[in-house]
Amino acid sequence: MSYLNAADMTGGYGKADILHGCTLSVEKGQIAVIVGPNGAGKSTAMKAVFGMLPLRSGSVTLDGQDITALSPQDRVKMGMGFVPQVNNVFPTMSVEENLEMGAFIRHDDYRATMAQVFDLFPILKDKRRQNAGELSGGQRQQVAVGRALMTQPKLLMLDEPTAGVSPIVMDELFDRIIEVARTGISILMVEQNARQALEIADKGYVLAQGENRYTDTGQALLADPEVRRTFLGG
């Protein structure tokens, strides 16, 4: 049994389904990446896992517990962290306050977690009094990830964390994500930069039209000529 199991998810907004029996799973401490063409339902699948999309059928379990009926807020309490693609920081609040808000549901001392986040993203420590809205795109993404880490999630979900950042910043972010995974946190991530993302992925999902098209390890998918031709542009 994997740590996260999203089995056979079918659903969408309104009448038309966007997902058709989509299945995702992530092992403890591993990185799973969802790639696929535009409109494949990648972000929707992510939202479904997080409880932001009504499902007509299928189930989501986390660490063996069925969480299909829980609200996103309750899933956060269960140990899921979610970093949306855009609007993922509090712009007029300082970096430190952003992290504090991340820890809002915790009633214990979160200073150790904040120190860990600062260790992971040292630049944030230097800028901790600055407003998140004044930071560069890459730094803002770090704040967003840091905020989600403050609840000490066991599963971190990232929706296109490298959207709109330069290639150098992207590599840096991927390195950090690997570091996060090494601490035992499972990662589920949607990525537009499929090639680079699959390189760090333990498991890759290629989605098309709301269905699983290919599922394998990241390296295997990268090596598969069919996947390369159809989804990775040769």
Partner: protein, 335 residues
């Protein structure tokens, strides 16, 4: 000597009144800006909330007076103020439950909420009239002056009089205390920070586990307190009349927008920008001019604008800001 007299006249007729008025506007604008940032609409009922809150304070003040309870040299209204705040806040919470909550649930457009607040304005206006009528009411019973004209003359020997009314001092002290408290709350406490987070990014605040109902509740309580305090200070300083409070809406909105709507510091800055412009432009500068240029005997009052047009000042500033800097002096929220 004449330069000093000119300064005294300036202080007496412009600086002191504008500071007190600015503090009152700033408190009002803080309420408007708070509702705007959390509930995301311009609250047209705010002027009448101030009137209703003040009306309640006046009734309690009368109650205390009839029981013989006073604050000595201070106005009894200050003693009644906390009770007035509690009742006003409770009324606002009741309004939220019965009226506004539904529109939040259906995620109504902001302009619909503005229209709804007009309905609330009607009801509050009626309640105020029921409660206390439409007449002008003076309810200041404390010592009138901190410095009276005679004391000033004895003290300085200057021919130009200067008076400092106690309500002006009370206004400024109370306003500063309230602002310090508010900023401490917003910047230092968990609940205050969660309100700022909610105002910044509602979806992310929900994801972080911030309870929207709690945020909204606290917002209305603070708004009720700010409105009651602003209205009571204004009433003590000038006098209470329900319709005047409705008219205060314009300078208050102008202050909030000029400062940058959604920004508390901006609301305070905006309050003083509006009050100093208004008082400065409608003051008859003849006296100051005669002191400074003794050879010149102006035939008019040297008044740039008749006081009847004081609203034109707020309006003009508002329009200039909308044209040249729609986000306000300090960057406010979305245009």
């Amino acid at each position: 000597m004449d330069v000093i007299n000119a300064l005294v006249a300036l202080t007496n007729y412009v600086i002191i009144p504008a500071t007190a008025y600015g503090a009152q506007l700033a408190l009002g604008a803080l309420g408007v800006t708070l509702v705007y940032s959390i509930l995301r609409f311009s609250n047209f009922a705010h002027g009448d909330t101030m009137a209703l809150g003040t009306g309640i304070v006046i009734l309690i003040t009368w109650g205390f007076q009839s029981l013989g309870i006073t604050l000595g040299p201070l106005p009894t209204a200050l003693l009644a103020l906390p009770f007035g705040i509690v009742i006003t806040a409770a009324l606002l919470l009741g309004t939220d439950r019965t009226v506004y909550r539904f529109y939040r649930k259906v995620r109504a457009a902001p302009v619909v909420l503005v229209m709804v607040s007009v309905g609330v304005m009607f009801v509050m206006n009626a309640l105020t009239r029921f409660l206390i009528g439409v007449d002008q009411i003076n309810f200041d019973d404390g010592v009138r002056f901190v410095i009276s004209a005679r004391q000033w003359r004895d003290m300085t020997g200057l021919s130009e009089p200067l008076t400092l009314r106690s309500t002006q001092v009370i206004t400024v002290i109370t306003a500063v205390a309230v602002m310090v408290l508010l900023f401490w709350f917003l910047n230092r406490t968990r609940t205050g920070k969660s309100m700022r987070a909610f105002s910044d990014n509602e979806d992310l605040a929900l994801l972080s586990g911030i309870d929207p109902n709690r945020v909204v509740t606290v917002t209305w309580i603070i708004t009720g307190a700010l409105a009651t305090i602003a209205g009571t200070l204004y009433g003590l300083d000038k006098s209470f009349k329900a319709f005047t409070y409705f008219q205060l809406l314009l300078p208050i909105f102008a202050a909030a927008i000029v400062g940058g709507i959604g920004s508390p510091v901006g609301a305070i800055l905006g309050g003083f920008v509006i009050s100093f412009s208004e008082v400065g432009l409608t003051y008859a500068w003849k006296k100051v001019a005669t002191y400074l240029v003794p050879a010149w005997e102006p035939d008019g009052l040297v008044q740039l604008l008749s006081t009847d047009y004081k609203f034109a000042v707020s309006f003009t500033i508002l329009i200039l800001v909308l044209i040249f800097r729609p986000t306000g002096l300090l960057k406010g929220k979305i245009v």
